[in-house]
């Protein structure tokens, strides 16, 4: 769908030989991935294939065991990197929304711009309201998260991440916790971001959406990227048996 990712565009993210294990459980085993600016990359694969862990590593929410992660030319996996500074430029949206339940929507969105970027309350709130307005959430600005539907909460979570003006946005199965009828409104927001040129890595089980929005689809299996390519090719003529088996299971489950 999007064609922002010209082949000559600069690298937004480079991952080399990434290893991560939780105790005896090897989750990422030599992951390599390059994402260019304005590119939309979808990660697909079975549960436990390492999609979420990969995203959490990129945001430094997990300590990596080996490998390199370079964001915008800076190696963020190096020791002594200021983690808080790195995270300002990388947004992440979680499956379970993780909104702050004790704060109104507008405060959820303006917290980080105020406390991290040092913006004044008035400016941060005005910007938050403008963003909420843009995504049809203006009238919810004064509500607490528990008064919102799941779809609205997830849209607020996306707006909260956008308020930091990230150069890279990570979406971790953001529709998996939603009732089916609420999925579309969240996917529409992501489509709009893609159209605007946002660089995104999207872990998803929504194959139709991935085929629709991705510039590139990566199939994860056994802790590495087994196969990657344009969505049309991956979904129509996968080269690897494992990819084919996975897609057949997905089709059987009615998800494609």
């Amino acid at each position: 769908m999007t064609t922002h990712a010209a082949t000559g565009a600069r690298e937004a993210l480079r991952i080399e030989g990434l290893h991560k294990s939780f105790g005896d459980l090897l989750v990422l085993q030599g992951m390599d991935l390059v994402v260019r600016e304005h590119e939309v990359v979808c990660l697909i694969g079975a549960s436990g294939s390492g999609k979420s862990t990969l995203l959490r590593c990129v945001n430094l929410l997990e300590e990596i065991d080996a490998g390199r992660i370079v964001v915008g030319g800076q190696e963020i996996s190096a020791p002594k990197v200021d983690i808080d500074r790195v995270r300002r430029h990388i947004g992440i949206v979680f499956q379970a929304f993780n909104l702050f339940p004790h704060m109104r929507v507008v405060d959820n969105v303006s917290l980080a711009p105020r406390r991290v970027l040092g913006k004044s309350k008035a400016i941060a709130e005005a910007e938050a309201l403008a963003l909420l307005e843009r995504f049809g959430l203006a009238e919810k600005a004064g509500e607490y998260p528990d008064r919102l539907s799941g779809g609205q909460q997830q849209r607020v979570a996306i707006v909260r991440a956008l308020a930091m003006e990230p150069r890279l946005l990570l979406l971790d199965e953001v529709t998996s916790a939603l009732d089916p009828e609420l999925v579309a409104e969240v996917l529409d927001v992501i489509r709009e971001l893609a159209a605007g040129g946002m660089t995104m890595i999207i872990a998803t089980h929504e194959m139709g959406f991935a085929r629709d929005i991705a510039d590139r689809v990566c199939f994860l299996d056994g802790g590495r990227i087994l196969e990657e390519g344009p969505p049309d090719r991956i979904f129509r003529e996968p080269r690897e048996d494992r990819t084919r088996q996975f897609l057949e299971r997905v089709i059987a489950a009615g998800r494609l």
Partner: protein, 257 residues
Amino acid sequence: MVATVSTVIVFWLLVVLITGAPGWVDVQVSFLNPKYFWGSLPDVIAHFWVNVQLFMIAEVLILVLGLVLAVLRSLPGPAFFPVRLLATIYVDLFRALPGVLVIYVLGFGIPGLGIAGIPVDPFLWAVVALTLIYSAYVSEVYRAGIDSIHPSQDAAARSLGLSRPQALRFVVLPQAVRRVVPPLLNDFIGLQKDTVLVSFIGVVDLFRTAQIKQAATFNFTPYLAVALVFIVVTLPLARIVDWLVARDRARAAAGAR
């Protein structure tokens, strides 16, 4: 209906049992004497002000020190191990020691050292002792509250670029404190009652006042006045705690915050 009947029967049996006891008349004279009760009540109430002051000053200090201890104990990483260890020793120590012992040691021991410049006012040392004892308990309440906030809240805050202290201050602590208000109030009820322990080091509070009156008249009725004062101030607080707990339970059931 059944509850009313069974309650009446139980209380009637209790009354029969107690008033039928062989020593009832003596007890009535020495513990339930209206003359001494009304005679001592105004003085007892007047000196309750000392307990109220103790309670209010200690309470503020306890809330602050307890929070500091809880945060120190939840600092992560090997670099903070000594800090965590010291805080843990503090909490273990003051929860293990009987309160009256701490009050004795501070109230008599420190002024007894005779170091120039060290205050000897027993009221001051009473405040210090109550603060040391109760901040240990309160820090555990806070810590349970902090632990009850799901790590995903911290992750969400950190992912936005907030530092660890910022995530704690703006995201974790506000939610944690809200959750522990009922158990904190319970500890306050305990503190309110334990303020009478300071009478052991010479602070003339309501309990000491009753003691003085009892020693002068050989009648124990003044203690009844003390009991009445505590019941009157503690019961509303206990009801507030119950109400808060019920409200939180209703909210949790509704899936709300």
